[in-house]
Symmetry: D2
Subunit: 362 residues, 4 copies
C-alpha cells in the first residue's frame, strides 16, 4: 500500500543522448518514485526535442514520455528553468562531469553519477548498495569538506560493478587474498561512437583504455570498510586484463580467486546464491531478487542467454571450479549487463537507496 502514497520526485538526466543516457531514459519510464522531467545534453543537442537530438539505438522503442522533451544545457540554471528537480542522474563523459557535477552539488542537487570523474575521491561514495550501503555516510563528510548543500554519489565502472557483486560474498565468507580477472567486454561498452566496425568485426581487441586500472582500484574501494569518515580499501590484491569481443551487450569475466580460508565448491555456490543486501531488504524497485545467480549448466553464463537475468541487474555466475594451481584456489565465470548493472541501472539503484534513506529530496 505504501507505493500508493509516494509522490514522485522530479529527476533530471544529464548526458541523455549518449548510450548510457538512453538507458537512463529507458529504465526510468514508469519508475514508481522518479519522474524524469528534465533532459540535458551537450550544446549540439540543446533546444531540440529529445527525439530529434538523439540517435536512439536501443532495441525497444524510445519511451513516449521523453520523445518531445526539450533538451537543455547541463547546468543548474537550465534545469531549474524546466522543473523543480531534486535528483540528477549523470551519464556525462568524465571530462565534462569533472566540472559540471560539482556545480550541481554546490547548487544543492543530489547527483547519482555513472561518470568516473569522482569515483576515487576519498569523500565520494562508490556505491554498490548490496555491498557497501554504509558508504553513504561519506555524503556528510563530502558536504562538510566541500561546503556543498548537495552531493555526489557514484557507481563503478561496468566490469567492476559486475565483478564486485560476485566477489563481495566470497570476501565475507572466505576472505579474498588475490583476484585475477580477464574480461571479454561488449562493444556497447565503448559507447555510441567509440569503436569502428572495421576494427572489431571478426576480431578481438585486447585493450580497453583505463579499464584495467579502474577494475584494480575501484574494486578495492567498493569492498573497503567505512572507518572514521573514510573508506579503508580492502586489502586483497587484484589484477586485470581487459579485452573487447564482438558481442552487442553483456560483459563476461573469467575470474581466478585465492581465498584465505579453504572453500568447498558447494559452499561457494550457496554463498553466492544466498547473497542479499540492503536493496533486497528494502525492496528497492530496481533491486533484483538475487544480486548473484549461479547457473549449473556447464557452458553458462552466456551474453545472449543471460544478460537480462534480474532485468539486467544480476551478476550471473557459472563454471565454479577449483583452481589446483594455488592453495585455496577457485575459478569461475561472471557475466552481467554492462549498461544496466554496469551503468544506468546501478545509478538508479543508488538513487533508490538514497531516496529510501531519506537523503533525497533535501
Amino acid at each position: 500500500m505504501e507505493e500508493l502514497t509516494i509522490k514522485k520526485i522530479a529527476v533530471a538526466i544529464l548526458g541523455a543522448t549518449g548510450l548510457v543516457g538512453q538507458w537512463f531514459a529507458h529504465l526510468l519510464r514508469d519508475h514508481p518514485w522518479f519522474n524524469p522531467s528534465v533532459i540535458a545534453a551537450s550544446q549540439r543537442s540543446t533546444r531540440k526535442k529529445y527525439i530529434e537530438a538523439v540517435n536512439w539505438v536501443l532495441g525497444s522503442a524510445i519511451p513516449d514520455y521523453v520523445r518531445d522533451l526539450e533538451v537543455v544545457d547541463p547546468t543548474p540554471a537550465a534545469i531549474a528553468g524546466v522543473d523543480d528537480v531534486d535528483l540528477v542522474f549523470s551519464a556525462l563523459p568524465p571530462e565534462i562531469a569533472i566540472t559540471v557535477e560539482p556545480e550541481f552539488a554546490k547548487a544543492g542537487y543530489a547527483i547519482s553519477s555513472n561518470a568516473s570523474a569522482f569515483r576515487l575521491d576519498p569523500d565520494v561514495p562508490l556505491l554498490v548498495p548490496e555491498i557497501n550501503p554504509e558508504h553513504v555516510k561519506l555524503i556528510e563528510v563530502q558536504k562538510q569538506r566541500r561546503d556543498w548543500s548537495g552531493f555526489i554519489v557514484t557507481d563503478p565502472n561496468c566490469s567492476t560493478a559486475i565483478l564486485s557483486l560476485s566477489l563481495a560474498p566470497l570476501h565475507r565468507a572466505f576472505g579474498l587474498r588475490r583476484v585475477i580477472v580477464s574480461t571479454m567486454q561488449a562493444i556497447s561498452g565503448a559507447g555510441l561512437e567509440g569503436l569502428f566496425a572495421l576494427n572489431i568485426q571478426d576480431n578481438v581487441i585486447p585493450f580497453i583504455a583505463r579499464e584495467e586500472e579502474k577494475i584494480q582500484t575501484e574494486t578495492l574501494k567498493i569492498l573497503g570498510s567505512y572507518q572514521k569518515e573514510a573508506v579503508k580499501p580492502a586489502d586483497f590484491r587484484i589484477t586485470a586484463s581487459c579485452h573487447r569481443v564482438s558481442v552487442s551487450d553483456g560483459h563476461t569475466e573469467a575470474v581466478f580467486v585465492e581465498t584465505e580460508r579453504k572453500c568447498d565448491l558447494e559452499e561457494v555456490k550457496n554463498v553466492l546464491n544466498n547473497f542479499r543486501g540492503k536493496p533486497q531488504q528494502l525492496s528497492l524497485p530496481s533491486a533484483p531478487k538475487r544480486p548473484v545467480v549461479v547457473l549449473d549448466a556447464k557452458d553458462r553464463p552466456q551474453p545472449k542467454l543471460d544478460r537480462f537475468t534480474g532485468n539486467g541487474m544480476s551478476s550471473v555466475v557459472g563454471r565454479i571450479r577449483s583452481d589446483e594451481s594455488v592453495a585455496n584456489g577457485l575459478k569461475y565465470i561472471v557475466h552481467g549487463h554492462n549498461l544496466v548493472r554496469g551503468a544506468a541501472g546501478s545509478s538508479i539503484l543508488n538513487a533508490e537507496l538514497l531516496f529510501k534513506l531519506g537523503k533525497v529530496p533535501k
Copy 2:
C-alpha cells in the same frame, strides 16, 4: 643448393576432409620435401575424388594437386595400395586415432599426428620443435616398448601450442612459478560441424570441452626435460579458463605469469623476440623466422591483423606489463593461428624436424 638434391618423399594425410585435414592439404602444396600423394578419410568419403568428398571451407582455392586424388580408407593396406609412403600426417578425431595410429606405427610408418589420443603417453613425444627437439629421443623408447617399426609423434592442442612458445623463453630466462591463462578462441577451433551459428553469433561461450585440462597437462610435458627415457614435466603450476568468441580464426590468450626471478619488461621483450630454436637453426621449410614476435602497439595482437604473422607459425605477443598483484608478476597477451601453428602447421614442422634428423624415411 642443397634443396636441389632432395628427392621428395611421399606422404599421406589421414582425416583429410576435416578442417585440419584441409589445412594439411593447403600447407603441403608445393612443399619442398613432402609429396602428399595419398588422401585418406572416413568411409563416407572413400572412393570419391577429394573435390567431391570435401566441403572445402578455406578462403584460398583447393590446391590443384589434391582435387582429383581418390580418397582411401585410413588403413596401412589402403595407403600402401596407392603409393609408397614413409610419413603419415594424422588429422583424425581422437576416438579414431586411438586405434588407427597404432596400426600405422606397427606397419612401420612414421606418424606426425595432430590428434590428442597419444599426446600424454609417456613414450610419445609431444613436440614443439623450437622448445623440446630433444624429446624425439622418446621415439626409440616408444618403438622398443611397443615393438613397433614405426612411431607416433604428436603436436599440442591449439591453445597450448601458441601459449607454450611464449612460455618457453620466459621459463628459461626467469623460471616460471605459476601461469594463469584465459583464452578467447576462434570458432574454427571447433571444426567443421562443432558449433551452431545460433549459439555463438553475438555471444561468448565460456566453455570448451577438455580444453582447460589439455592446456594444464600438455604445457608441462612440452616444457619438461628429457631424462632417462622419459620426460619429466616442468614443475611450475598452471591453470586455464577457456572461452569461445565470434572470431573466424586465431586464438587470443590473456596470460598472467609469476616467475622465480625478477624480470624487467625490456628484458622480457628481448627474451621473447630473440627466442630461436632448432627449426630456425636448421632452416626447416615451415619454420617462421621468429617463433615469437613482440608487438609494441598498445592494442595488439589482434586476430584480424596478426593471425598470419610468420605465415601463421609465429606466436604474437603484446601488452607486456607488470602484474603488481604478486611478486615477479607479469602479464601479456599471446595470439596465434589455431589451424596453422595450432594444428596442421605444427605437425608439418614436426615432420620436417624428423626428416632433417633422418628419422624418416625409414
Copy 3:
C-alpha cells in the same frame, strides 16, 4: 469487461523443444484465452520435464509454467492423456507434420500450424488474418472433403508472412503487377541446428533451401480471393532471391514492385500506415496496433532496432522510393521478426481469430 468472463481453453504445443516451439512457449505465457497445458515433442524428449528436454536459447528466461511439464508424444492419445485440449499449435518439421497433423484433425482437434506441409493444399487456409480472414471458410470445405471433425489452418513461411503484410495494402490500392524480392534472413530462421557457425560468421550464404519457391507460391495464395470453396491465387507475378546474413533475428527484404495504377509516394506511405484488418477490429490479443509501420528515417528498418515493433508482430517498412526503371515502379525495404510474425506469433494470431469466430472450441 468481456475478458473477465472468458474461461481459458487448454492448448497443446507440438514440436515444443525446437526454436519455433520455444517461441510458442514464450508467447503463450500469460495468454488471456489459451492455457498451454500440454507439451509434445519427438521421442528423444518424451518422459522428460520440458526444462530437461529443451536446449532453451531465448534471451528471456524459460517461463515458469512450462518448466516442469512432462513432454509427451505428439499423438492425440498422448495429449488426451494429459488434458482436454481443443486447440493444437504445431511447430513440427514438415516431414513429421505431414502424418501427425492429419491424425489430430481426424481426432477432432483444431490445428494452428506453422509447418509447411499443408500450406498449399487447396482446402487448407493459409492465413494472415489482416489479409485474408475470409479464407477460414475453407475449413468447412476441408472437414467435408477429408471427413475430419477437426481441421488444419496454416500460416506462411517467415519471409512470406512479413512480405505479404506490406504487399496486401498496395495490391488493394494500386494493383500489383510484379514483385521482385531479395531477402537478407537471420540465422535463427535455420532453427536450432540448421547452420554451422563456420559457414555464416563473416559471410553471406546466398541460398536457403526451398525458400524462394515458398515466397513465390505462398504469397499468391495469401493474397488470393475466396471463390466457390477454393482460393483463386492473386494474378500478379513474383520472383525471389533468398540469402542468409549474420544477424540473430529479423528478416530484411528489399522489394521492387510494379503496380497497375500510378502511385505517389505519400499515398503509398498512407496506405501502408493505415492498413488495418480483422485482428485490429476484433482486438485480438496478439494483434499489433498497426500491422505495417512505416519509418521515415533514411536508414531504417534495421533488425537490431526494429525487430520488436508491435511486439514482433508488425512489418516495418522504410525507404519507400520510386523505381524509375519501370512504369509505376516502387521500391522499399520491409523487415519483421522471423520467429514472431514469421512463425509462432502468426500461428497464435490465427488461433485467436478462430477462437473469436467460434471455430474453437468445438
Copy 4:
C-alpha cells in the same frame, strides 16, 4: 623475356593512409612495371613516415618498401620534390579529389583514380578494361577540352565494378532490357571510420549513401559505346537497392535481369565463363585469367570462400536460374572483392592498360 627489359616507372599514391590507399600500397608491392615511390596523404599525416601515419588494418603485414617512406602533401609540387613520377593513383575522398586531381592533370600527370568526383564527366573515361577499353579515346578529348597535358581516368564504384563484369557479356550476347540489383555490401566498403561497430554488429543497414545512384548511372556509362568523342550510355534500365551486412570484405549482389533475346541457362553460363577482354589478351599483370568465374555449387558465391578468386579481381557468379516472373527473365548472384576489383585493383588494372597502350609515361 619481355619483363626483363621493362624499366619500372615511378608512381605516386594519393590518399595512401585510407583503406583504399592501403590496398594500393599492398597490391603495388613487387609490381613488375610500377614503382610506388611517393606516398601522399592529408596534412595530419605529412612529414611522418608511412608506418607512423597509417593505421594499417590489412591482414597481411605492411610491405617493407613503404614503411619508411615519408608522407607528402597531395600536390604536384610536393610529389615532384620526391621523385619523377609519371603516374598517380588517387584514393582521395571525392571532396578532395575534385580540386586535387585536376591540379595533377594540369601539371601533366596521368591519374588513375578511384575517386567518384569525375566518373560521370562526359570527357572522363570510366574504365573497366575488360568491357570498354575503347573509352580511353576520351583521354584525347579530355586533354583538348580542358587544355591539360595530363589526364584523369576513373574506375567505377565498388558494387558497380563487380556487377558490370557480369552484365557486359550478357548484354553482348542477349541484349539487356532491365536490371534489378540488390546488394549485400561489406563493412570495409565504408572505409576506415565510416561505420560504428554498434550500428552493424548483429544488424543489416538498408542504406548506403549515394550508392544506388552510382550503380544506376555508372553501369550505363561503362556499358555505353564510344561515339563521336563521347560515350553514349547503354540504353537498358537499371535499379538498385543497397544494404550493408556484417561481413568484413566482399560485396554480394542479387541480380534480376530481363534480356532482349531468350537465353538458355547453359548458354548464359558459357557466355559468362568464356568472357575475356583486353587485359587478358594483353596479359596485364593484374588481369585475372577469367574476369567472370561461374560456380556450380548451389550455395555460392560466398564472401568467405570466394572473395579472393582471381586474386580478388574476378567477379564470381552463381545460382544462375530462370526468372519466370517476366519474359526472358534471369536471376543470379554475383560477388567480388570490394577493395580489389571494387577499388585499388581496378585502378591498377586501368593504369596497366594505359601503360601497355603507351599512354604513360608521357
